[in-house]
Assembly symmetry: C4
Homo-oligomer: 355 residues x 4
């Protein structure tokens, strides 16, 4: 049995494994489990651990061949195998199951989202740090004021600054457990101000994260689209200014094998460029296959007619969508592209390309 | 009695029906209802059900004629009728009223907003999934840490990871019921960190949803305005670049029949293009009617004079507003449009069009 | 004694009156007031009422002269006088003081912010309504599910849908009072999902309001700046395209009489155009006054020298700031404006204007 | 021992000092401290106080030399020394430790973030004030309604408007302590509306703060980049329009001494301009040093080849990154810059610059 395929465990499967594993870890901590239930759960953990061992060996084997820098994935794979093994060998109590919580790291392994998030946090670190320090200052100030105001009223709850700080953090984050509540009028006015400050601080936090996220996504989308567009022959003769126009107008999408991309008779609002993979066009006579560099669905943009054929993905296809509205904009700024699309459309219909 | 009009139950009426129906369902679950009250409520439910039957038959009849793809509406109409009927026939207990809760789906029937929302979620699914997985990881990590820290202090509340997870989700979402509260210092520091993470995660969530929503709205607005502008004769001679400029500058508005659009003597800051419907201009001599493709209120942009006549909607009118400020911008980039508007304005005043 | 000045009660004073009045109303509802305290409070209310009577008569007098459409202000002024008077005459109990709460409307009287907010809500009404209906649907769905799951576990708290709805709204808004808490596992999973939905819904809400607000503010700023710029002689010869550039670059500010606008020796990063009012330039020889249409502080942009004189506001001045960075941008797009500013600057220094 | 270096305590150290000091102040308020622990804590406070005295004297000494306007820093340094000293001398009780909380001000001393935040708040003050007044109005309205609805049901909790206002602020901020909860149906409907209003108000708040923050950051970034670009000789011959293009494209970064900026053999996606400091290029023969005004890594943009040498920071370096994508955009709009970079790149490779 070859271990290599396991190194290609797709992200969803990996997430599923980790989710099951962690739920089992959680379940094992509940009281009143029968011995049998416990055994089933332990076996599940062992099975997932084995899968991870195979995945690790796969990663190691493939690593020998291509020495690229996927260090993080390797480290995570190693930890996912070694930590539970070490816990099993050296930790006596039942707590050893808890060490499987290291599998929390697994979803970080292939995630582009976490890389994106890390970059956003790095980009905005100065502002995030600034807001966090505002948070700290307001927190301490609120705790100090709460302590001074309420220490005589409720010595058991506001008797020291650390205690008051617990109240302050619960209030500042508008969590409001309700275990420590100011009783005096001054304390309540303070609480109102703390709640308002909290919302202001979290508004800043949210604004910084949301804006930073949005900007990074836009930048990464642009880079990816640029690379995709460079692979479409139609666009390769164009200058960089025209390319930028197109990159801004096109929207990438991945379609799984077998899925229908557009259905005959529907009114379409977009055309498609094939970047990778093949699609099947179900023409009346016999199905036609189109591959990378071709485009289809263009009549929707030119005549507004309903789709003349159903197109489905023969393999997983990477497409670029061009919406009717963007086509209008593109036509006015890059007439040559629009012209090429129009000509091809007319040729396909059987008529000669008219100027 | 024809059932067809019922298929055209307007969205507000539909929402009203569903709201009443659901309130009745809620009311029927309360204790201490007299038999009479119960009867009235049941009859109300039956009446709404009958209205829905009529609506369904209307939908079915109209469907025979135009076979377009409003499958969702049909399915919802069917469910709204069949589910309560089935419950009435086969469910013995009083719980059968609860099945009328299927009417919750009714407002989704004609709503453009839900379609918009679904598109936003689809567009942003990868990022939303990413944030949700961050949420899951932080949630499990917090529960694990809370369990380890607090299990000896409060074995009844933090005695297992599932219990600790309840605390974690209540804290991470800053809901803070207050039924499980960490007591140890470490637990409280952890809680503070969890609250801060929660706000960060929800900030990302909010940022992604808000940005995605905003972009989709802008895109849909552009498409709609484009279609509206294409219907105005004045703009049909223009190139697509100029059309884009105009589409960006115009703001659509719907005015109900009978409403006054602008009042004589007021200072106006916008002119109007009629896309659909008719307006009545109350000129001194006799009222003039303007229809689709006409425009009025242009003197506000050219001379700044107060409105010379009151204009009201003769039918429901779909208008495009052009604000004075946008007119300035438009004039500088598309002088020909501004010129056409100026000429027409002078002609209407009775003077000859001057260059 | 003339009542007219009272119609000009500035917004801050109006807000102060209303605040005091409302605090007094609040104080009058507390237990344990001595008769004397009560008398003082009642007298305060009477004093504010009298001020409002004067303000109303002022509004009425001034109204006779200029019949503009400030209907809202008049209605608010009338209500603020009539409602407490009617309550005093016809309501017997102590509750009559509560009717002074009508003064809550007073701050809406001259507020540009409330008009702005109303416009944002009107603009975004469709989307806000859509999110609100999502809120309603999720709320009912959560209540229904909560009722079905928990009704047997806690019949006193989840015994009917209305009761479960109270839990749902408290959870969906992440308020979390903690009076109704699901106990079963299914109920807690439901609660977690409701919290997450709540945050999603409020994210949409926030995104729509924030975006709508931002767009409306930008639009109103542009209109206001445009009007201010049109009043500066230097800019009156320019075409509308150049005017747009300037309007985008200038930032308006109001400086109260007596305030120092820039101080001798400081390094400046902006110059100022006077739209209204007068400033005093403290030159070595004798103070010079500049009025509407003049500009100053331009050396900061041209040479980067520190301010050569202290300039303070002789009256309340309305200024437009042009930052050094924006000046660079403006220079490249509208060289003629930059040239005029440079010439004037050199003339002021005593040297002849060089090309 | 010279005190001067202490005036240069870096911001992180300053933050560390303040954090320790404040934690000690908090710890000193807890019960059950042994005399020894108390002594250690007091000594720690004294040590930090001494450090601050040295820092103050350093600030004063350096101040004699350069009389720039860092008034705030001086005031903060003075307060940080004088307030604890005064408390030690004149306050008898143990509360005198609390006066060290004045050190909360220390992080504000050199923070650019607080200056940024202050500017945002100043810019947006009108809107923030507007939202705050909406908050106030809704708060009072909710309290009044809650009082009227619930005063008979729960006279101990809603017996006066101030009491009801406590409930209103806790609910409006969605904190939800759970100490005051409406019991009647009307009160619960009111509570639901208050929660929804609260979220709306805080959405506005968040939107204003986030937008204002984002705009101010963008403005400040532009100013800083402009200053950095003006220091690069390559760009000094360009017109301001081209400079703006470049400033928009460049991204600044600071690299600490010794860090590797790019590694031989890696595929690069950006080139670097040195603004300040020096870098070491590890060429095969002997390391070459590049200083301010030079650039490197340009082959990544022109040929897409992997990095030909490892470059590390000899000193702390301030760099501007130009990404490959931005270079494409820049090339199309400012061909002369791209040409200069290309020529230099070819010269470095040994070949003659070709046109």
């Amino acid at each position: 049995m070859s271990a290599v395929p396991f190194s290609k465990i797709s992200t969803p499967l990996n997430a599923l494994f980790a989710t099951i594993g962690l739920l089992v870890v959680a379940a094992l901590t509940t009281q009143g489990l029968t011995g049998q239930e416990r055994l089933v759960f332990e076996l599940l953990l062992a099975a997932i651990w084995l899968a991870y061992v195979l995945q690790l060996s796969g990663t190691l084997l493939s690593r020998r061949r291509r020495l690229s820098g996927e260090m993080t994935a390797l480290v995570i794979d190693l930890l996912a195998v070694l930590v539970p093994a070490a816990a099993f060998l050296f930790v006596g109590s039942r707590d050893r199951d808890l060490y499987c919580a290291i599998w929390l790291l697994k979803p970080l392994r292939d995630s582009t989202f976490f890389r994106l998030l890390a970059k956003v946090v790095a980009n905005e670190s100065r502002n995030l740090l600034g807001v966090t320090s505002v948070f700290g200052i307001v927190l301490f100030g609120a705790a100090l004021a709460g302590y001074i105001i309420e220490r005589d009223v409720q010595p058991d709850k506001f008797g020291s600054i650390p205690q008051a700080m617990w109240w302050a953090v619960v209030t500042l984050s508008t969590t409001g457990y309700g275990d420590e509540i100011p009783q005096s009028l001054a304390g309540r006015v303070l609480a109102g101000l703390v709640m308002m400050s909290g919302i202001g601080i979290f508004a800043l936090w949210a604004g910084i994260l949301a804006t930073g996220f949005y900007e990074e996504v836009r930048r990464q989308d642009f880079v990816r689209n640029w690379q995709l567009v460079a692979a479409v022959p139609l666009f390769q003769k164009l200058g960089s200014a025209a390319l930028i126009e197109i990159v801004r107008a096109l929207r990438p999408r991945i379609v799984p094998a077998g899925a229908v991309i557009c259905r005959k008779g529907e009114v379409g609002d977009q055309m498609f460029f094939i970047v990778e993979g093949r699609v099947t066009v179900a023409t009346p006579d016999h199905p036609v296959e189109l591959g990378a560099g071709n485009f289809f669905g263009e009549m929707a943009l030119i005549s507004g007619d309903p789709r003349s054929a159903t197109v489905s993905a023969a393999t997983e296809v990477s497409l670029l969508s061009l919406y009717a509205v963007d086509f209008q904009i593109l036509s006015s700024s890059s007439p040559e592209i629009a012209e090429t699309i129009r000509k091809t459309a007319l040729e396909r219909r059987g008529g000669p390309p008219k100027e």
